[in-house]
């Protein structure tokens, strides 16, 4: 792999884009190990510590005593954190690829609030209660918002610059949020349900809710991973991608649908969680480079690790109660967002 790069400038630029395969595999293994460690921590740590024996007992199906019972509630929670983190990070990576915009993220694009509004309207006017119905509604709301924000963000000269996209997203979020309040306020009967959903995070996870959302996530995952190759071509610009034989509009729409399904479905079960989709793909690009075939799976693993870690952290810092993961990710993510903005040249904004 160590080609004499000083002699051949072309080879050196290739080396930057393509990190050595062995190194990338190593990184993937390391992050999988980190994820496994965090999952274990997530099962063990909480307002009550549990021992190995108790975990084993709980896995064996016993819920006698506090320890195994605690484990039994922490397992679905851990699973949801893993799944949600992976889905959000993957969705962010795909959105950044589709829009060729470094600030694209379900939270920034207002997709979370769009899903919220759809779910709240469903609860208030159509009496939706079951998780599977809410997922459909959330996906529709998320998709509509994503398309809307992207469209108004890319009007005018220069297409969707980060500034226009972020402003359109922030403004639309603010507008939709007041609609959410207007819908909920007169309805005391649903206020409690909406509230617990909005700040739910991953704490209220059940195996049932994960089972309901799993098919959607699987579809989103497959669509997103399959679009990796076309995202690579799209990164070269629409004209060049078309020249390489890519059907640009179809490829872009397919990838976007994958991303929207992922974040809409997760928002439906875990409430709005921001910034995972923004932070993780950027961190991953530093490690594995810009090839989407590596970037996407790697983002999923690292996203899962980040959200699981955030959940554990939220339980440690606020003992004996806990801080919702959405708040932890916002506290981690916002400084990172600022870092990205500061690093870029003015013209690119």
């Amino acid at each position: 792999m160590t080609t004499p790069t000083t002699l051949n400038p072309a080879a050196s630029s290739v080396a930057i884009v393509r990190r050595p395969k062995r190194l990338r595999s190593l990184w993937l293994l390391v992050s999988l190990a980190v994820l496994a460690g965090l999952m274990l921590a997530s099962v063990m740590i909480g307002s009550r510590e549990v021992s190995w024996a108790e975990i084993m007992a709980a896995l064996g199906g016993s819920i006698d005593g506090f320890g195994p019972a605690a484990v039994a509630t922490r397992i679905p929670r851990t699973l949801l954190a893993v799944v949600a983190g992976a889905a959000l990070a993957l969705s962010g990576a795909v959105m950044q690829g589709v829009t060729r915009n470094p600030l694209a993220d379900p939270g920034i694009l207002g997709v979370n609030v769009g899903a919220s509004l759809a779910v709240v309207c469903g609860m208030a006017y159509f009496g939706l209660t079951s998780a599977s119905e809410m997922i459909w509604v959330a996906i529709v709301g998320a998709g509509a918002t994503a398309v809307f924000v992207y469209t108004i963000g890319s009007l005018g000269r220069g297409g969707s610059t980060p500034l226009k996209l972020a402003l359109a997203g922030a403004a639309t979020s603010a507008a939709l949020a007041s609609f959410v309040t207007a819908v909920v306020l007169p309805r005391n009967d649903i206020a409690e349900g909406v509230r617990s959903w909005q700040i739910g995070g991953v704490g209220g996870a059940t195996l049932e809710s994960i089972r309901v959302v799993a098919p959607f996530l699987l579809v989103g995952l497959i669509v997103s991973l399959l679009s990796a190759r076309s995202l690579n071509s799209l990164a070269l610009g629409d004209d060049l991608a078309a020249g390489l034989g890519e059907r640009v509009a179809i490829a872009r729409a397919a990838a976007a649908i994958g991303a929207v399904v992922l974040c809409g479905a997760i928002t439906a079960v875990a409430g709005p969680i921001g910034f995972v989709g923004l932070v993780v793909p950027h961190a991953c690009r530093l490690i594995v480079g810009v090839d989407h075939r590596w970037l996407l799976p790697f983002s999923a693993v690292l996203g899962a690790a980040l959200l699981t870690g955030a959940d554990v952290l939220g339980r440690i810092v606020a003992r004996p109660s806990e801080i919702d993961v959405g708040i932890i990710t916002a506290l981690i993510g916002a400084p990172f967002f600022i870092y990205i903005v500061r690093r870029r040249k003015v013209r690119e904004l």
Partner: protein
Amino acid sequence: MTLERSVADAPLLSTAQVVARGRVRRTARRRWVIAVLAALIVLGYIVSLLVGQTFYSPAEVIGVILGQDVPGASFTVGRLRLPRATLAVLAGLCFGMGGVTFQTMLRNPLASPDIIGISSGASAAAAFAIVTLSISGTAVSVLAIGAGLGVALLIYALSFKSGVLGTRLILIGIGIAAMLDSLTAYVLSRAAMWDLQEATRWLTGNLNGVSWAQTVPVLIALVVLAPVLLGQSRNLSMSQLGDDTASALGVRVERSRLILIIAAVGLIAFATAAAGPIAFVAFLAGPIAARIVGPGVSLLVPAALVGALLVLVGDFLGQFAFGTRMPVGVITGVLGAPYLIYLIIRTNRAGGSL
């Protein structure tokens, strides 16, 4: 466009005369607009004092204002309606003036304090003070203005990289706002009892149950800070030409920007501490005023008046137009949303300022 028409009307006038006439016409129009807006605010203020669940005659209301003891009206008008309507006007003035300052300074109508995180900072601090520390009164205002200023200076410092640039400042502000909003949500979720009405005050703005204790600090802030902003209005309009041109014209750009930011943040923070971050008022007042007044004149006063009118009308509608009492922030938010989206589309097309 105006210029072309007047040239066609009077081809014999020199350019200087045409410009001078244009200026006279624009100033006259601005005066008219200010007069009409002020009259509307007075009208709205009177109506919201007289009309409610019970109607009181003007004589009774005047009696209450003069300090007489009128059975029934003394409580309803004196304790409930009078502080509420007064705060609506004052908060609207603060939001309108603070908002248009930011929009003009950053040359982007979308860069209003409620989008770039300043209202979020004040609101998070006020919610924290009231819900978690259970303090009230002036201490809350002090904390809110401290937080608002702190956030503004933080955004300013973070976007400083060989000079502050509008775009970077806006983006960083959006990031900070997201963080602060999640803090507010956290504080509210910790509250012992989830009182939705109380929570909406810190999420969207609400005037329910305000008293004189909350109104007076806003009045003081307005009296102190509004003249500062008005004194800077010349520098403010110069800064619309861009930093380089403005400094060539003799504006000390960074210094004047700092004064403008502190004064505008002060107004926003005091109003937020009393009424919450009333959605979109700071955002909408400037562009609406710009539409009514036309180009080339200072927007500070018209925008403040538009803001006051928005809050007054929004609060009145929220109280009586629907079955449930809606907080004013929800009304302004829902009514403002379509205009906001129209504005985004127009700004992105034209890439222009107000």
